[in-house]
């Protein structure tokens, strides 16, 4: 096998993420690359347009650290806990400074899908009688060319960089995921550059033994970063659980700008990467996040055909 794309997180972000880029770190609750977000903060990128269906804590942290100029999103909250407080500070009241570009979930998925398929727009039956098209002029009504009514259109979203986290990939970037799939496939195919972060680097033969599980082929991947625990406090199906304690703890931290800065210093700036972060979390905390049991899939037989 030739052409290994394996890189350190530091090198991947340094070479593939530039000031002013549109960056999508995707993953719906599952497989959110906090490791990449923290490295972007450490390298002090500026003026980024951050795209993500659910900005989640990672974009709250990145906005608090000052990397973002604009947010493209569809649901802005800390699920089950409340708001994203750092983002609220720069989006509420007269001093609101962060630009917002807002869709519904289906609208965001449709934007990535149009981007991945090289289409000028994607039609959908959302937004009728909603105020969303009024505040986002990129959501536009369009008559069916076949004369059977009106639908809404959203434009393609083609990030400069998409970052996804996965259970495993080979050195060429062929990437396999199980559990919630979100819109990572669409966001990766839509992007100009793709960084895949994985829990485990595997041999090409492991990928080829189960090709149905491949969501992104190496041909669209620029870098493969091996970063165990890289999705914490989000989760990786079958490996570690969502750290709901952290999602709750972030609420009081993020309500206080000084506490937020102190957290960023302690957990991002003062650490040199994810291995140090995992070590700082401690073995007890990590062990508490292991699944309570095993639930293996049944194996399928693809057959051999010569």
């Amino acid at each position: 096998m030739s052409g290994s794309k394996v890189a350190s997180m530091r090198d991947a972000i340094a070479t593939l993420v530039c000031d002013g880029d549109t960056v999508a770190i995707e993953g719906f609750t599952h497989l959110i690359s906090f490791a990449a977000g923290h490295e972007i903060i450490r390298q002090r990128r500026r003026d980024l347009v951050l795209a993500r269906m659910t900005p989640d804590l990672i974009y709250d942290q990145m906005v608090a650290a000052g990397v973002a100029r604009r947010l493209i999103f569809s649901w802005l909250g800390n699920p089950g806990v409340g708001g994203l407080n750092a983002i609220r500070r720069v989006t509420e009241g007269a001093d609101a400074s962060l630009e917002l570009e807002e869709y519904s979930h289906f609208g965001m998925v449709a934007r990535y899908t149009a981007g991945a398929a090289n289409l000028p727009f994607m039609p959908l039956r959302s937004y009728f009688e909603s105020d969303l098209p009024r505040v986002n002029p990129l959501i536009r009504p369009i008559a069916s060319p076949y004369g059977d009514g009106t639908v809404y259109a959203v434009p393609p979203l083609k990030p400069d960089v998409t970052v996804i986290h996965a259970q495993r990939a080979d050195a060429a970037g062929n990437t396999q995921v199980w559990g919630l799939l979100g819109c990572q496939k669409e966001a990766a195919f839509a992007a100009r550059r793709v960084i895949v972060v994985v829990e485990e680097l595997v041999d090409e033969a492991v990928i080829r033994a189960d090709p149905n599980r491949t969501i992104v082929p190496g041909i669209v991947v620029d870098a493969v970063v091996v970063e165990p625990w890289g999705a914490h406090p989000s989760y990786v199906q079958g490996r570690y659980d969502r750290d709901n304690r952290f999602y709750r703890d972030w609420d009081p931290i993020s309500r206080d700008p000084a506490a937020t800065d102190a957290w960023l210093r302690e957990w991002v700036y003062d650490l040199d990467g994810r291995a140090a972060y995992a070590e700082k979390l401690g073995q007890e905390r990590l062990d508490s996040l292991r699944p309570s049991g095993s639930a293996p899939s049944g194996a399928v037989d693809y057959g051999e055909y010569r």
Binding site: P79, H105, V109, R125, T150, C183
Partner: protein, 268 residues
């Protein structure tokens, strides 16, 4: 107001207002086949229904799961427990395009920050959009669920700030300005959804009458009409045959307290 501690269903009732609301919402799902489960209170109501009145109901989560069998009630609806043991895990494109927009969803179960008498929902901002007093989460999947699910159920606590004469932003359409307009627009534009059919609150159960406006049909134990009126921004339609909501059964309370929400995340 009936005597009783704040947050309880009345003196010696033995259950809280939140528990009554969740139980009443779950019971409304009897007989439904496919339910799209929203974030927050809908999640516990639907999971209670699955364990009581609607054991055959398919649970659909926007994260891309059809036929979920969650073994625990998670803080987030994107939790790994909705995957293990499910019928199907799909991309979010498939979930929204084929399952929802394709017409497979009988009930979309939503929460809301603000609602008006016609069931139009705001989850976007309080105040002006560009300079909001409070920035709320936004649509998520609610806008397309409101349009494409065959009917909409809503669960939310009642207050003068949330049940308002005019919502600050219409994220998800309900019966628009009334039944006549709503039916005409839905027909002309080919929506699959018929709109909102029930709103369950901590005080009672509202269905929608022929004008498209919500009508109070059931009052929870311990709640009064004065309390209902004090927590609304309009003069409500009240059913001529207004009835008391049957109190939660021991089994319903056991399921909520011991199985679904032992930490009291939803029922506080």
């Amino acid at each position: 107001m009936t005597a009783g501690r704040p947050g309880t269903g009345g003196a010696d009732a033995g259950f809280t207002k939140s528990e009554m609301m969740i139980v009443a919402a779950a019971r409304e799902l009897a007989g439904q086949r496919v339910c799209f489960v929203g974030v927050g209170l809908p999640n516990i109501a639907v999971n209670l229904a699955k364990r009581t009145v609607a054991p055959e109901m398919e649970l659909v989560y926007e994260a891309g799961v059809f036929g979920a069998r969650p073994a625990r009630l998670p803080l987030s609806i994107g939790d790994p427990t909705i995957v293990t043991g499910a019928t199907a895990v799909t991309s979010m494109w498939e979930l929204f395009a084929y399952y929802l927009q394709g017409g497979l969803i009988d009930v979309g179960f939503l929460g809301a920050a603000q609602i008006d008498r016609f069931g139009n929902i705001n989850t976007t901002v309080i105040g002006d959009y560009t300079r909001p007093k409070t920035r709320l989460p936004g649509s998520g999947g609610a806008c397309e669920i409101a349009i494409n699910a065959r009917q909409i159920f809503v669960i939310m606590r009642q207050s003068a700030r949330s049940f308002v004469d005019r919502i600050d932003f219409r994220t998800s359409p309900g019966n628009l300005g009334g039944a006549e307009k709503s039916e005409r627009i839905r027909r002309e534009q080919g929506w699959l959804g018929r709109g909102p059919s029930v709103v369950v609150t901590d005080l009672g159960i509202w269905h929608f009458d022929e004008t498209g406006e919500m009508r109070l049909d059931f009052l929870h134990p311990g709640a009064t009409l004065d309390e209902v009126r004090a927590t609304l921004g309009w003069a409500p339609h009240v059913s001529a045959s207004l009835a008391p909501t049957p109190a939660p059964t021991e089994e319903e309370l056991r399921l909520i307290r011991d199985e679904l929400d032992p930490e009291g995340m939803y029922t506080k």
